[in-house]
Symmetry: C2
Amino acid sequence: MTQNIYDDPDFFEGYSQLQRSIDGLAGAAEWPSMRAMLPELHGLDIVDLGCGFGWFCRWAREHGASGILGLDVSDNMLARAQAETEGEGIRYAKADLENLQLPAAAFDLVYSSLAFHYIRNFAGLLATIHQALKPGGRLIFSIEHPIYMAPRRPDWLVDAEGYKTWPLDSYQMEGPRVTNWLAEGVVKQHRTMGTTLNLLIGSGFRIMHVEEWTPTDEDLAMYPDRVIERERPMFLLISTLKPSY
Amino acid sequence: MTQNIYDDPDFFEGYSQLQRSIDGLAGAAEWPSMRAMLPELHGLDIVDLGCGFGWFCRWAREHGASGILGLDVSDNMLARAQAETEGEGIRYAKADLENLQLPAAAFDLVYSSLAFHYIRNFAGLLATIHQALKPGGRLIFSIEHPIYMAPRRPDWLVDAEGYKTWPLDSYQMEGPRVTNWLAEGVVKQHRTMGTTLNLLIGSGFRIMHVEEWTPTDEDLAMYPDRVIERERPMFLLISTLKPSY
């Protein structure tokens, strides 16, 4: 069973106050990059793994998707999604991504935002996703970047001249990382870039685009604090295809 | 024109004393991983871009390759290659990888070890390689890992408890990196993982395997000092395919 931090009251309270929880997709720095990787959604059948409050599900519906299934392990998230982002063609349901079952060849797009880095059995999840995609379908997802997750102490160091550096270590030591983000003892699963890409390739996906999110000049004009994000990548966005032969 | 550091006397003197220069392929920590990515070489036509002393060219010949073209920009390297690793089916020639020309559909395998991180016009080089490969051919190469290349000060920091961390910064700021490795003013070209992969995909290559080299347990038994290499990746190895349709 996935660690369900979103039903921890402290975590949920903290999460609900993040910019991305208040402003929806517009509050997520990496959303424009995710959006740019998406195909034309008109008429597509979509599943969103770790749908949270359902912002993406609603957006997909507004952009012509035919049917959208939003899955999440958290009752808190699903309750908010059902209250705030429901609509014709959208269905929300509870699911544990560690033991996910999906119908065969049922979806044109599997979408997931910042959920897969909680998953231990990523190979198993990829097998489930692959069989659930129609030939020619896409898996497009984001995770926390392994450079961001790896270190023993994931926080900036300031050197004698005031430069900030990211103290990378433990990169090749894959496995759980316990952090205190919004609540204590949040467990994430660190995998290297290579492992993530090779698991995708080995599961039958073709790598179409790999983006280590960085703020654009326009981002920095609006949010000058984001300049620190150019020092090391925080998010990893990957677009893949299930070949149609 | 590529910066030709290998014809700088100080650099060449230092390079010639590295373990990989004395022991050949067996002296290169990442060679077993490179070797594991190679196809069966019997009967293949191969070009080695940045062939150095020609260790790989000789190894490929010994493993049944049909014809091997070793290209390097350095007269010093080529002189050593011609003296020490020549053989039937092997041809060495001088070439600048920044302005490379290769015959069309002439090779089954394009191989390159630790050369591409010196190249400014990587997209141009990839276009040249792609047209030079036969359909179904492979490009397999290694570079210094962008995590290794990116920082302002690419050297370990030791914290108060004696832990070593790698002070990552400037990761998203692509472009030249000047280091003093064996000689002063060696210029390398930093590109993110994402940029390298997307340039390959955009050039028509399919990503087959991505390896951020790390020492195995057997490596550590023989070379205990290599344990530090588990903290951050030093080499990036990539295997790609030119699809046959």
